[in-house]
């Protein structure tokens, strides 16, 4: 399944993979966070204070 454990060309591709994966996660959840309705966000934020 896996051909190598050491890749000689690691410098050429690992940074892009790391960046790509992180960017995908960040963008997805930024979109998600921004699209949350303000009223909903405010009500969720107040949960600890509703004593």
């Amino acid at each position: 399944m896996y051909k190598q454990v050491i890749y000689e060309t690691w410098l050429e591709w690992v940074p892009y993979v790391a960046f790509g994966i992180t960017a995908a996660v960040f963008i997805t959840f930024v979109i998600r966070a921004v699209s949350l309705r303000k009223e909903k966000a405010d009500s969720l934020a107040r949960i600890p204070l509703d004593d």
């Binding site: 960040f26 699209s35 009500s43 204070l49």
Partner: protein
């Protein structure tokens, strides 16, 4: 198996109900945390003092190598662990508007955890250890930890099931991530085969073991010392300043990016070692990218104080919280910095790392704990804090203590790192060839550390007194509250299909899957995977634009469904570990090693190795010569992957209070080791190493040797066939050879003593075979350079094809 998350409606009528929270368990965990914290820090001050005053290594069970794991385990699992449980139990009940799932499980959790701590406090000084940092506890205790953790998880999730608040607040997300990730990490890293009731061998060896261990070790910091405390921050900081968290939206990005990225960063503990470079680079990049979520969380905490900054002057709770969050920011800035390979070449194995972890542990964890306990105690006992000035004094003595400690360790680490790495202009000789020169230079800084640590400990004792007086002035009470019982069919009704076959998950996982394809697929196919990933991303963006409401609705539903939320969190945390570990575990076999295979330990050497592990030698000595010129000049050729392939557990270490031992074998005669272990200063003037007189009288364990060899064979170590008698005879025969050599130097010893076994082991370090060139290795490069250039070590370390 199909899991149905849909719950049968319990009631459809909204009604009011008065509930009494279980605050007794919160009080129990709080007191346990404070008391164990003081014990753990007292041991910390003792071990710090032992490094300056070797005479304080009074007996075998009070020696540095055995006490240092006790200190780290006590502070992590006893102090922070109990504090975390106190915070989780208090806040979960309030956030769910429900009493904990089961009082019995709460009790089992509390007493079980304390029993585990006591077991650790007994076994570690006795030298019973697995020999891996923060994973030292022996296998019966490992099983107890796993069981008690399951009890905690069941109790927690049971509370979520019976909650009367539809939405899961952000603090609960962090608790969920903690529970499932710690379970995953702990179980995988502790898989072992027992050889007796007090000893086992991990199933991973060498580089595999290193990778799995630091996947666990790094994420113990992430998911035991960080995520639960962030959950506590998100609940208690708004309570303390009486205003909601600065940005709930930011908390969403904070949570998901943190849990996803953190898990990839483990390899930064193994930079410049024989770990494959692509893994090192992944560890470095993901560590750097952790800056974003970490600082997002820190700013969210600090800005929660908006409009209430005056509280910072008057309220000790707010002081502790804000200082803690500031230390979180500082240590999460420093962590990525230390993960840069060039910086790590200086900092690794030095006191800089010790300073870094203490700014996190004392600053972030310790000050959060203090703020939490000062806030909780008056409420748990229905009274006021006994003394605000004393709390303020605690704050300032802690701050000065931390700063003194951390600054001393920074100076010490950077100074020793620079001295150890310094060479002449040509790069052919070391400026400070004697390791002890560098140790002597940092001794004053090590003394300042003792003062800083003691100041922090005094603050903890003052807190205990203050809170004890507070408790005595009030009465233990459980809060009662009237809550609206919610309709059960309105929450936790999201099925598997709605969770996983939804657009957000499909596109996210599909995109990641294709990126992983780009990662591992052969040339040609990898580009195809990348192109597909980009096409996928474009489609996803278009889908978001057209189905914006649908995507929002899906996430809002997810926040009201604990099981799908938990499963998605598990996917997020499992992915990084799987991608890093599976290739290494599958490929790291003897037949795939490029040029060197470790020689198998003889029975006596194996017994000696177990003594080395038991005495905790790895706490001060590494066995890993990094791919760096100064390391090679000082210790010999850099270590290859194949040279620790039979090391169960690996002993690469993470701190060099003494020199590296990877090529110690044959460097000195037997008599040197004999005298050195009897009195280190007789051979190494200025050494701070403890003497080990008990090794000269204690016998090594012959009884379990056959079982140990059998387990080694089971793990794939190519031992020749030997029965129990032959194993013991072989060991004693080698012992007699060593004893005879010692006689030449007028030293009398018995062949069955621990010192003889330890000498046998030390003399084996660095011994390897050069395997015959097989077809698949014929294209491998020629013999490696003796002194590699720092930039091109991989050119000499290419592994060959695996099956």
């Amino acid at each position: 198996m199909i899991i149905d998350f849909t719950h049968t409606p319990m009631t459809t009528t909204a009604s009011k109900q008065t509930i009494e929270f279980n605050d007794k368990v919160v009080r129990q965990f709080m007191w346990a945390s404070i008391i164990w914290g003081i014990v753990g820090m007292l041991v910390g001050v003792l071990v710090a003092s032992q490094l300056n005053f070797h005479q304080l290594n009074l007996t075998s069970w009070l020696s540095f190598g055995r006490l240092r794991p006790l200190h780290t385990n006590a502070v992590i699992f006893a102090f922070v662990g109990n504090m975390m449980f106190a915070g989780v139990y208090y806040s979960t009940q309030r956030l769910c508007k429900a009493r904990m799932g089961s009082d019995l499980l709460s009790k089992i959790h509390f007493w079980g955890w304390q029993l585990i701590i006591v077991s650790a406090a007994v076994t570690l000084p006795l030298g019973f250890t697995r020999g891996q940092e923060y994973a030292e506890l022996i296998w019966p205790i490992n099983i107890a930890v796993a069981l008690i953790w399951v009890v905690f998880a069941v109790n927690f999730f049971w509370t979520l099931v019976k909650r009367n608040e539809p939405s899961l607040y952000v603090a609960l997300w962090f608790y969920i991530a903690t529970i499932i990730t710690v379970a995953m990490l702990y179980i995988v890293n502790h898989i072992s085969i027992p050889t007796s009731w007090t000893h086992s061998y991990t199933i991973f060896a060498g580089v595999q073991n290193a990778l799995v261990q630091w996947w666990y070790g790094h994420n113990a910091v992430a998911f035991f010392l960080t995520t639960p405390i962030l959950g506590i921050m998100y609940y208690f900081l708004p309570k303390a300043v009486e205003r909601p968290v600065y940005s709930y939206r930011l908390s969403i990005v904070h949570f998901w990016s943190l849990v996803f990225i953190y898990i990839w960063a483990g390899p930064h503990h193994l930079l410049n070692t024989s770990l494959p470079k692509w893994l090192q680079l992944l560890g470095m990049f993901f560590s750097l990218m952790l800056w974003a979520p970490s600082w997002g969380g820190m700013l969210n905490g600090l800005l929660t104080l908006r409009g209430a900054w005056d509280k910072l002057r008057t309220d000790p709770v707010v002081k502790f919280f804000i200082a803690a969050v500031t230390f979180y920011g500082m240590s999460t800035f420093e962590g990525p910095l230390l993960s840069i390979r060039a910086v790590n070449a200086l900092s690794h194995y030095s006191d800089w790392t010790i300073g870094h972890v203490h700014s996190g542990a004392l600053g972030w964890n310790g000050l959060m704990a203090a703020g939490l306990f000062y806030w909780l105690t008056p409420r748990l006992y229905g009274t006021k804090l006994h003394s605000i000035p004393m709390a303020n004094f605690h704050f300032w003595i802690s701050i000065f203590g931390i700063l003194l400690y951390v600054a001393a360790m920074w100076v010490s680490g950077i100074m020793q790192g620079l001295m150890l790495n310094s060479t002449n202009v040509e790069g052919t000789a070391l400026t400070y060839p004697n390791f002890i020169e560098t140790l002597t230079a940092i001794r004053p800084m090590m003394a300042f550390r003792i003062i800083g640590g003691t100041m922090y400990l005094v603050g903890m004792i003052l807190m205990l007194w203050n809170l004890w007086a507070t408790a005595r002035s009030g009465k233990a009470l459980n809060e009662t509250r009237e809550v609206t019982v919610i309709q059960r069919d309105s929450i936790d009704n999201m099925g598997v299909k709605a969770t996983f076959l939804s657009d957000p998950v499909t596109y996210m996982l599909g995109g990641l899957f294709l990126l992983i394809g780009w990662f591992f697929l052969p040339k040609g196919a990898d580009i195809t995977a990348l192109v597909c990933a980009l096409i996928f991303a474009v489609i996803a963006v278009r889908k978001v634009a057209f189905s914006h409401q649908k995507w929002s609705h899906w996430y809002e539903r997810l926040l009201e469904n604990w099981m799908p939320f938990t499963l998605l969190t598990f996917v997020a945390v499992a992915l990084g570990g799987l991608i890093q570990i599976i290739p290494t575990v599958m490929v790291n076999r003897a037949k795939n090693m490029e040029d060197r295979i470790q020689q198998v330990y003889t029975p006596l050497e194996l017994a000696g190795r177990d003594i080395y592990v038991s005495e905790g030698c790895y706490n001060c000595h590494s066995q890993m010569i990094r791919t760096m010129l100064p390391d090679v000049l000082r210790y010999g050729e850099y270590s290859r992957m194949g040279e620790s392939i039979y090391d169960y557990p690996f002993q690469w270490g993470s701190k060099r209070t003494g020199p590296d031992l990877a090529r110690e074998g044959g460097k000195y005669p037997h008599s040197w080791h004999y005298n050195h272990m009897m009195e280190p200063r007789s051979t190494s003037v200025g050494s701070n190493m403890p003497a080990y007189p008990h090794l000269f009288t204690d016998k090594f364990d012959q009884k379990t040797l056959p079982r140990k060899i059998a387990v080694m064979v089971q793990l794939g170590v190519p031992y020749p066939v030997m029965n129990a008698v032959e194993i013991k005879e072989t060991a004693i025969k080698q012992g007699i050879e060593i004893v005879n050599t010692l006689k030449n130097d007028k030293i009398e010893a018995s062949p069955d003593t621990k010192i003889v076994a330890l000498i046998a082991y030390l003399q084996k370090l660095g011994k390897f075979d050069t395997p015959a060139v097989e077809n698949k290795t014929q294209n491998a490069p020629a013999a490696p350079q003796l002194i590699p250039g720092p930039s091109n070590p991989d050119k000499n370390r290419r592994a060959t094809g695996a099956e």
